[in-house]
Symmetry: C2
Subunit: 405 residues, 2 copies
């Protein structure tokens, strides 16, 4: 059951988006040898490091002893994969990655299960998206299953560095860059796919910490016909300045709006969800922006949609991917119809929102009294953590890639 | 005198653009020591190379023997500049430039003058724009005059490699990248500014070669509230796929359109100009898109506007920065009012256009019979070349930076 809001806001945005024809064909230059995990060569790091205490882990600052690296050339395709000691990349100063934004990445986590095995959370989704990102900027595509196997081997090398405990994990960063050493703007004929790994702690050390957002319409994160739905470097650097400007005004992140209707698209570098309750019908609704080409196809977003559709009573909850404007949020908050709001992404899983600055005042988002989130946000976090840490089974979402026994 | 077209198309786009508030404040983190050319340290390349014959020069594939490099840290500011043998960059695989698009660049050329000196063409414009680009993605800003001095020193080292002859020059590529070795998405606290130099020949070896463009509305290069007016890596990689798609259909480049009005914005990686003649009044008009935040602030664009305003008879020519839609071009071509069209940028200076594919047919752009450009395009190219090679003086546009005598 859609509320009155959904029908109107959906219609209002069609005019902007209907004229966008997707880039239906890709020129993924995956010629030559396919990426083949069985060709792996391993060079062990002669100086293995010791795990840092959990309380010293900072997101993405310390890395494990090894990295995975696979070179690609147009002539020969994918070379034999290599696992080798973590170390610098040596690249010509004219390399395409330094000049024209030929770079795409992924972020996913490996968790210790109760049986002391190591599991990746939905890595197939990351590999699928990474291939889409690479193809969008004419970098070579690859067989994702082979890279999942190789990430398993990488974790195997450094399994003693995978931290233990609820909220702790090994963050993996697959990256692909264009390395052609020439300044002409064209399809790179050389590329490098690499994976580095960083032991990380919980995003919020002491449970949730709800954030204040600034609804942002003066800077625009993504546009129809652009590539805001891909995980490209291009989408990140331009978002720092608006974030600093929001921070100066006391808001941690931007709530990105789009178009004359001011549709809510994302928050910071995460997808965003709103929960409403219709004051007349009593029906509740969980809403996130539809995948129209301007929204990152978040793995956490997809998981939340699947889990809430599966676990919440459809007589009580509608789960909708639809346009939702900042005005709708403002009006429904005034009527007491706004229940909860949260960001969703790999780093924090869910990130509760407590206030949204808009037109000089703050829209208040309810939290459970004395807590830093609402009940649904907390419930969703718990469902996902149980699957990630292998306490609950959910299809093939949790994939064992290494064994510490 | 504006034609009827200009008034309408200007009005039509106001609705889209008026809601965009510029990012008025930058957080240029230029703390610490300023960039100081007098601190330069030079390490000579022990293996100097010989100049390649002019006919073997390929744009941006061969580089001179030296490069300029200046490191920046948040704690200490700009370190002493270094000129050293051309060689690879050694960077941590977690460096910000590989993941989040922290990269901006410039392109400018050094020319041999008749007196055997070496002159840069309007380098102050490039430095100004590079600072704007850096500030937009929170990389440090710097004193552009110091970098111009340092580029002069760099050219001095390799002055025997600056090619001689009309159309030949030394292409300089100043680049700034964020080098912080950490995966958190935030303002880089380390950066590297470097300049490499490539001896290049004329863009068209045998005079002009007019190109066929595909008017592109299914992919969008830049948008209000984005950063399409800055020279960021982010703006380039996403444009390759639409170019390959256009090429498959027989067009060399994309003519980028924007918005429901389908305003013409740029061509490939260049600004674009159209010349019209009103069939009733006989008045001629040279048109390029206004700098509304979606258009690169091209140095060649600016030079063409200044030179045509200075040299063309205002009783005969209007020089206008205004919105111009693809429909206007189509209609005026039909009426015989379209005189010429050309791209404008540092690499080719001017690049004549002969056809524009739109809605399944081609808009024909007139050329001088038996030639590959129209008369105005040719005239403009000649005015600019005369200044670049020091044959004509134009204020401080041509700046001597080295002496071969």
């Amino acid at each position: 059951m859609l509320s009155a809001y959904s029908a109107t806001s959906k219609k209002a945005t069609t005019s902007v988006l209907c004229r966008v024809i997707p880039l239906y064909r890709t020129f993924a230059s995956a010629t030559g040898a396919p990426l083949d995990a069985s060709k792996l060569k391993i060079t062990k790091n002669p100086n293995p490091s010791k795990p840092k205490p959990n309380d010293q882990l900072v997101f993405g600052k310390t890395f494990t002893d090894h990295m995975l690296q696979i070179e690609w050339t147009k002539e020969n395709g994918w070379a034999a994969p290599e696992i080798k000691p973590y170390g610098p990349l040596v690249l010509d100063p004219s390399a395409a990655v330094f000049h024209y934004g030929f770079e795409a990445f992924e972020g996913l986590k490996a968790y210790r299960t109760p049986g002391n095995k190591i599991a990746l959370f939905r890595p197939d989704m990351n590999m699928k998206r990474m291939n889409k990102s690479a193809a969008r900027i004419c970098l070579p595509t690859f067989n994702g299953d082979e890279v999942i196997k190789l990430m398993g081997k990488l974790i195997e090398q450094d399994k003693n560095l995978v931290p233990q405990g609820q909220g702790y994990s090994l963050y993996l960063r697959p990256t692909i860059i264009g390395t052609t050493a020439a300044l002409g703007v064209s399809t790179p004929d050389r590329a490098l796919l690499y994976v580095i790994a960083s032991p990380v702690g919980p995003y919020y050390k002491t449970g949730f910490k709800a954030v204040r957002l600034e609804a942002t319409d003066y800077a625009t994160r993504a546009w129809p016909g652009g590539c805001g739905d891909k995980k490209l470097g291009a989408n990140y650097a331009p978002c720092i300045l608006p974030q600093l400007q929001a921070a100066e005004r006391g808001y941690q992140q931007n709530l990105w709006l789009f178009g004359p209707e001011k549709n809510i698209t994302e928050v910071g570098t995460m997808n965003v969800f709103f929960a409403f309750k219709d004051s007349i019908t009593g029906m509740k609704e969980l809403v996130t922006a539809p995948l129209d080409g301007t929204i990152l196809e978040g793995v956490t977003r997809d998981s939340i949609l699947a889990l809430t559709r599966q676990n919440l009573d459809p007589k009580e909850w509608d789960i909708n991917e639809r346009y939702c404007t900042i005005s709708e949020v403002e009006e429904r908050a005034k009527k007491g119809e706004l229940l909860e709001a949260f960001g969703a992404g790999t780093a924090a899983v869910v990130s509760p929102i407590k206030e949204i600055g808009w037109k000089g005042s703050d829209i208040e988002v309810p939290l459970t009294p004395g807590e830093q989130s609402g009940p649904l946000t907390k419930q969703i976090a718990s469902w996902i953590a149980d699957i990630q840490y292998g306490r609950t089974k959910h299809g093939n979402w949790s994939q064992i890639v290494a064994d510490l026994n």
